[in-house]
C-alpha cells in the first residue's frame, strides 16, 4: 500500500507541473511572480478544509464530514457577531474555534456515539448549520471587521500571503508529523485499515474518531477566521460548496474514501493543483465551466488510475516469484 501511495505522490507532483505548463501555454501572464501570490491566496482556506476532510476520512468508518462548509459559515458569523457586541476580536476568534469544535462534537456525537452513518449525520448537520447561518442573519452579511485584522489573509511577506506562512504551512507540517510519527497517528491509520483489528489491539477507535470530528470542526473554524480576515465581513453562505470541494481535494490527494490510506502531502499537492488550475483558466479567460469539468474528470480519473495501479500491484504479488 505504501508503494502505491508514494506512486500517487509522484503522479500528483507530475500533474501539478503539467497544470503549470498548461497555464504557461494558456496565458502569457501565468509565469509572472504575481501569479504565485494570486494562487496561494486561495490555498489556505481550501487546504485547511481539505486537511480536515483527510483526517476524518483516514480514520475510516467510513468517515466523511459534509458539514465543514456550513461550519465555516456559522463560525465566521459567530466571530463577527461577537465582535459586533463588543467582545475583543482575538477573544472572539478563540471562541469561534471553540464553537467550531462544539459543532464538530455534535457530528462526533451522532457518528461515534449514536453510530449514525457519517454521510447521513453530517448531511443533516450541514442542513442545520447552513440553515442557522442564513436564518439567524436573515441572509445578510455582518461587516465591520477592522483593517488590522485583514493583514492575516491580505498581507504578504516575501510575496507570499501571510496566512500561508502562519497557518497553512505550519499546520500541514504539524499534521504530517502527527500522522506519520506519533502513536495516535498510527492509530488513525489502523482504525481506517481494519477497524476490528485496531479495536482488538486496544485502539479506542470510536473515541479517536470523535476527536477527529471535533478537530475537523476546529479546522473549519480556523478556515472561517481566514475568510473573515480576507473579506473583512462574514457572509452566511461563505462556505457554500466547500464541503464537496474539500472531499474532492482529499480524494484527489490519494486519501481513500473508506479510510486507511492517505497523506497530508497528497492533500497539499491536490489543493495546489486545483487552485493552480483555477488560476490558469481564469487568467486565460476560459469559462468557469471548464474548471468544473476539469475538477470532475480529475476526481474520477485519479481514483480510476489508483485502482488500475492497485490491481496491477496485486497481480504482481499473487504471481509466485
Amino acid at each position: 500500500m505504501r508503494d502505491l501511495l508514494s506512486q500517487r505522490m509522484f503522479f500528483l507532483f507530475g500533474l501539478l507541473v503539467a497544470v503549470g505548463i498548461l497555464g504557461a501555454f494558456l496565458s502569457p501572464h501565468f509565469l509572472k511572480a504575481s501569479t504565485a501570490a494570486y494562487v496561494l491566496q486561495y490555498v489556505p482556506v481550501l487546504g485547511v478544509l481539505g486537511m480536515a476532510q483527510t483526517l476524518v476520512m483516514l480514520s475510516g468508518g467510513p468517515g466523511i464530514d459534509l458539514s465543514v462548509g456550513a461550519t465555516l459559515s456559522l463560525v465566521s458569523l459567530a466571530v463577527a457577531g461577537l465582535y459586533g457586541i463588543g467582545v475583543p476580536l482575538l477573544a472572539a476568534c478563540l471562541i469561534g474555534l471553540l464553537v467550531g469544535g462544539l459543532l464538530g462534537a455534535a457530528n462526533g456525537f451522532l457518528v461515534c456515539v449514536l453510530k449514525v452513518p457519517s454521510l447521513m449525520a453530517t448531511l443533516a448537520t450541514m442542513f442545520v448549520f447552513s440553515g442557522l447561518a442564513l436564518a439567524l442573519t436573515g441572509g445578510s452579511p455582518i461587516g465591520g471587521i477592522p483593517d488590522w485584522f485583514g493583514v492575516l489573509s491580505q498581507g504578504r511577506f516575501l510575496g507570499i500571503p501571510i496566512h500561508m506562512w502562519t497557518i497553512f504551512v505550519p499546520l500541514a507540517v504539524v499534521l504530517h508529523i502527527f500522522l506519520t510519527q506519533t502513536r495516535p497517528g498510527s492509530h488513525i491509520h489502523a482504525s481506517g485499515n481494519d477497524e476490528r483489528a485496531a479495536f482488538l489491539s486496544g485502539v479506542k477507535v470510536w473515541r479517536l474518531r470523535f476527536g477527529l470530528y471535533c478537530l475537523s470542526g476546529v479546522l473549519a473554524g480556523l478556515a472561517a477566521i481566514m475568510t473573515l480576515s480576507w473579506f473583512q465581513a462574514a457572509r452566511p453562505d461563505a462556505g457554500k460548496g466547500m464541503e464537496l470541494l474539500s472531499v474532492t481535494i482529499a480524494v484527489l490527494g490519494g486519501t481513500h474514501i473508506f479510510g486507511g490510506t492517505g497523506k497530508i502531502l497528497g492533500t497539499v499537492l491536490a489543493v495546489l493543483i486545483v487552485t493552480t488550475l483555477q488560476a490558469a483558466l481564469q487568467l486565460a479567460n476560459i469559462s468557469q465551466a471548464w474548471q468544473l469539468a476539469a475538477i470532475g474528470v480529475l476526481l474520477i480519473g485519479s481514483v480510476m488510475a489508483d485502482d488500475a495501479v492497485a490491481a496491477r500491484l496485486r497481480t504482481r504479488v499473487r504471481r509466485p516469484a
Binding site: V116, L123, G131, L244, I257, L292, G296, L299, V303, D307
Partner: protein
C-alpha cells in the same frame, strides 16, 4: 466496509418499515394540523394544489433515489442531470421542435447521463459518492456551456398541462406521481430485477456469488434514476417555463433527505417507496407552511435538518432495541 452484516433481512424489517410509514404519515398530519391552525390559507384547495405541484419533480426523482439507496448506492449528481436535461429541453423549445421531441430529448438526455454514472460505478471500482460527485461537476460544466450564463425564459406553455392541468378534478401531477411510483414499486417488489437490487444492497459479494449480474443491475438502476431525472426536468420546465443558471443545486441533498426520512437505510437493503413519497410531501409541506405562517423560508433547512437528525436518532435506538 463490512457493514452489510448489520442489515436486517427484508422480511425481518418488514413490520418496522410499515411502522415508519405510519409514523411519518402521522407526523405529516400533525404538521398539516399545525399549519392550518396558524394560517387560514394553508388548507385551501388552491394552496394544497400548489404544494402538490411543487412536489412533483422532487417526488419523481425520489422514486429513483429510493431504488439506488436500497441498492446501497447514492447519486449526488441527480441535480446536475436535471439541470442538463432542463437546459436541453429549453434549447429544443427554442428550436421550435415538436413537443414530443422536446420531451424525448429530456428523457433521453437524463437516461444517458444516468447510464454514464452507472457505467463509471459498475465498470471501475470508484465508490458511488466519489463517481457521482465527479460527474456532478462535469454535468454542471455542461449546463454552463449550453446555457452560457443567461437564463432561458419565456418558453411556450405547451407542456404546462402536465403540471397545471387536471383530470376528473385531480391535478395531472397526481397521476404522474402515481404512475411513476406504481411502476417503480412493481419493478422493485414484483420482479426478479427488484429482488436483485435488494440483494445487492444487502450483500453485494453474496449477490455476485449467487449469480446476480451485479454490474448490469447497477447500470440499469442508475440509468433509471437518470431517466426519472429527465422526467423531473420536463415537469420542471413545464411548471416554471424557464431554466435558471443555478437549477438543481439542492435537489440531490433534498432527495437523499426525503428518502432517508422515508425509512431507507443509507447502508442499503432497506427502503420504502411510499415512505420516500411521504418524505417528499413532508419537506414540501414544511417549505410551504413556514412561509404561510410568516416564518422566513430561511429556517426551512434548519427544520428539515433537525427532523433528519431526530429520525436518525430514532432509527439507531430502534435498531439497538431490536438488536
Amino acid at each position: 466496509m463490512g457493514s452489510a452484516a448489520t442489515n436486517a433481512s427484508p422480511t425481518a424489517s418488514r413490520p418496522y418499515r410499515i411502522g415508519r410509514e405510519m409514523l411519518l404519515f402521522g407526523a405529516l398530519l400533525l404538521l398539516v394540523g399545525f399549519f392550518s391552525i396558524y394560517s387560514d390559507a394553508f388548507l385551501s384547495q388552491r394552496n394544497l394544489t400548489t404544494v402538490l405541484r411543487n412536489s412533483v419533480d422532487l417526488g419523481v426523482i425520489c422514486a429513483g433515489m429510493t431504488i439506488i439507496i436500497i441498492m446501497g448506492g447514492i447519486d449526488v449528481s441527480v441535480g446536475g442531470i436535471v439541470a442538463v436535461s432542463a437546459v436541453l429541453i429549453g434549447r429544443a423549445f427554442q428550436l421550435d421542435l415538436p413537443v414530443i421531441w422536446v420531451v424525448l430529448i429530456g428523457l433521453a438526455s437524463g437516461a444517458l447521463l444516468g447510464l454514464i454514472n452507472g457505467l463509471i460505478i459498475a465498470r471501475s471500482r470508484v465508490p458511488p459518492i466519489v463517481a457521482t460527485l465527479g460527474t456532478m461537476y462535469i454535468f454542471i460544466a455542461v449546463l454552463f456551456l449550453v446555457i452560457g450564463g443567461v437564463w432561458i425564459s419565456g418558453l411556450p406553455g405547451t407542456l404546462s398541462f402536465l403540471v397545471l392541468g387536471s383530470i376528473a378534478g385531480f391535478p395531472v401531477g397526481l397521476f404522474v406521481i402515481a404512475g411513476v411510483y406504481l411502476a417503480c414499486w412493481l419493478l422493485l417488489r414484483r420482479t426478479p430485477w427488484g429482488q436483485h437490487v435488494v440483494a445487492i444492497g444487502c450483500d453485494e459479494v453474496a449477490a455476485r456469488l449467487v449469480g446476480i449480474r451485479v454490474d448490469r443491475t447497477k447500470v440499469q438502476a442508475y440509468a433509471l434514476l437518470g431517466l426519472l431525472g429527465g422526467l423531473a426536468a420536463v415537469l420542471y420546465v413545464a411548471r416554471l417555463r424557464n431554466v435558471e443558471v443555478n437549477i438543481g443545486t439542492n435537489i440531490a441533498l433534498e432527495a437523499v433527505a426525503a428518502v432517508i426520512l422515508g425509512g431507507a437505510n443509507i447502508r442499503g437493503g432497506v427502503g420504502s417507496l411510499l415512505g420516500s413519497l411521504l418524505g417528499v410531501l413532508f419537506i414540501k409541506v414544511t417549505q410551504n407552511g413556514l412561509v404561510l405562517i410568516g416564518i422566513s423560508s430561511l429556517w426551512e433547512p434548519v427544520v428539515i435538518g433537525g427532523l433528519l437528525i431526530g429520525v436518525l436518532i430514532l432509527d439507531t435506538i430502534e435498531t439497538r432495541r431490536t438488536g
